[in-house]
Amino acid sequence: AILTARSKAASGLTKKPKDLPVDIDAADVDNELQQQNGRVQDYMDSQPEINSKMRSILVDWLIEVHKKFELVPESLYLTINIVDRFLSVKTVPRRELQLVGISSMLIACKYEEIWAPEVSDFIAISDNAYVREQVLLMEKAILGKLEWYLTVPTPYVFLVRYIKASVPADKEMENMAFFF
């Protein structure tokens, strides 16, 4: 869902389809392994100040930050998952979107990384747009809203598996799968 939402946003296709998509998870409704409270919803209509174009700019920027900090891929996918889940439940002003981004990445790094960047690193990379207290406050707000539910399946593990199972993969194809 994240990737399709993003590619739609990237190609300017933001019009919603008329028919509701078939719920492919319906068969798993009683499966207790099913992710209950971690679902990303289509939140753009509920966000007065944010549109999908802004989200795609944020995600592009987060990918760059991710590269700059030399983080593991899991951190990036978890970051985007956290951003989307938070935006699903909380209205965020435009000027705080980047703050949501760096705070989500801070959380994701604490979860996934061995050597996580520090708050000051994130402030520096966003050109001092926010102060330390804002980041810590947002970190608390996000964790509270998500009820500390951070153990989520992200597309990454599945992509790795599918790429491995597919025809001899080249780097370009991998990057298309991972980042488009």
Binding site: Y111, A116, T151
Partner: protein
């Protein structure tokens, strides 16, 4: 550090009834980076344990909470109630209050535990980590679990932590000091036990028990004794199905539910990767043996001043201990280049 009569007599936001706890016991237990209180809920008077961190939200706490929230309720897993955040920069984890845990049990006992007690406790651990019960769990993670079982066994016998390191590199150094380079001559470990025996009158470990300990503290996870084999080991097997000589929680004696066990293994593997937030010092290599000291973690408060050993040696150590070497690869690579090696020792 929190003062005795400090603000922490009350925990949570005072104007929030739901999240308000009153401390009813002075400082209860203190780790290197967190403090534990006993408190009761303002309204329900329910007694809980509250863990507070000294500085913000560390990675290990974040992972602990994430793991606890994703686990289903189970009598053998401590019950996590909620996280309370106050107006300041404090996180409090509210958990089920247990009157006794192993650490306290050992603290109360003046002398090291006797052999029967050790065996009984070991037996309970082993039920928890036996692959016979852990259906679907990878052998890899089971081997990781057996190492701390060895650490705990040694600690029970010695009444002191086997590998005392303040940070990970020191910890690795300690392991080298105690266990040597993995060659068969391991009289240093034996000496530790002989020393304990002579000074405190502790029960000397039996030959069989020492044999088991050596097999648990085997560097190579492939060669390390499995939980199942440990249960059949001569030192432990006589205690199988025998009535407990200790008063211990009955929940631990029950067979684990497969699914819950799977979840615990998953969570454990995450927690085991909870390397201490410590040394930003690039020369440190982190490997924390979280379970080696029940209840506490060895977390340095300052970046340690330690010289960096041969990266290949340490990488090898990591690999044989079953840690996720690939995670370390990148950092070892950077370090290796600094030291003049062309590529990472792991590649």
């Amino acid at each position: 550090m929190v003062e005795e009569a400090g603000f922490l007599n009350f925990i949570g936001n005072k104007n929030d009834d739901h999240q308000f706890f009153e401390r009813n016991h002075p400082q209860y237990d203190q780790g290197s980076y967190s403090i534990i209180y006993r408190a009761n809920h303002r309204k329900t008077l329910e007694i809980v344990a509250i863990k507070q961190e000294f500085h913000g939200l560390s990675r290990s706490t974040l992972r602990e909470i994430a793991a606890l929230t994703s686990l289903p309720r189970h009598p053998a897993v401590i019950e996590f109630k909620e996280v309370v955040v106050d107006d300041r920069d404090h996180f409090f984890i509210i958990m089920e209050h247990l009157e006794n845990d192993l650490k306290r049990f050992m603290d109360v006992k003046k002398k090291p535990l006797n052999l029967n007690e050790v065996k009984c406790i070991m037996n309970q651990f082993l039920e928890g980590v036996s692959p016979k019960i852990l259906v679907g769990a990878e052998a890899y993670s089971c081997a990781i679990d057996m190492w701390p079982v060895g650490c705990i066994m040694a600690e029970l016998l010695l009444k002191e932590v086997l590998f005392k390191g303040r940070c990970d590199l020191e910890q690795i150094a300690q392991i080298y000091i105690v266990l040597g380079n993995g060659e068969p001559d391991d009289n240093r470990l034996m000496q530790k036990f002989l020393a304990a025996t002579s000074s405190t009158g502790a029960p000397s470990v039996t030959e069989l028990g020492f044999d088991l300990l050596k097999k648990l503290l085997e560097y190579d996870p492939e060669k390390r004794i499995t939980a199942e084999a440990t249960l059949n080991h001569g030192d432990i097997s006589p205690f199988l199905n025998s009535p407990s000589s200790l008063h211990t929680p009955t929940a631990l004696d029950k067979a684990y539910d497969d699914y819950v066990c799977d979840m615990i293994t998953l969570a454990k593997s995450k927690i085991q990767l909870s390397y201490a937030r410590d040394c930003r010092d690039s020369s440190s290599l982190r490997t924390t043996f979280v379970l080696s000291e029940p209840g506490t973690q060895v977390i340095p408060t300052k970046p340690p001043k330690l010289s960096y050993g041969d990266p290949r040696e340490i990488a090898k150590l990591d690999r044989v201990m079953g840690y996720e070497a690939s995670l370390l690869d990148r950092h070892l690579g950077a370090k290796a280049q600094e030291l003049g090696h062309k590529t990472s020792p792991l590649t």
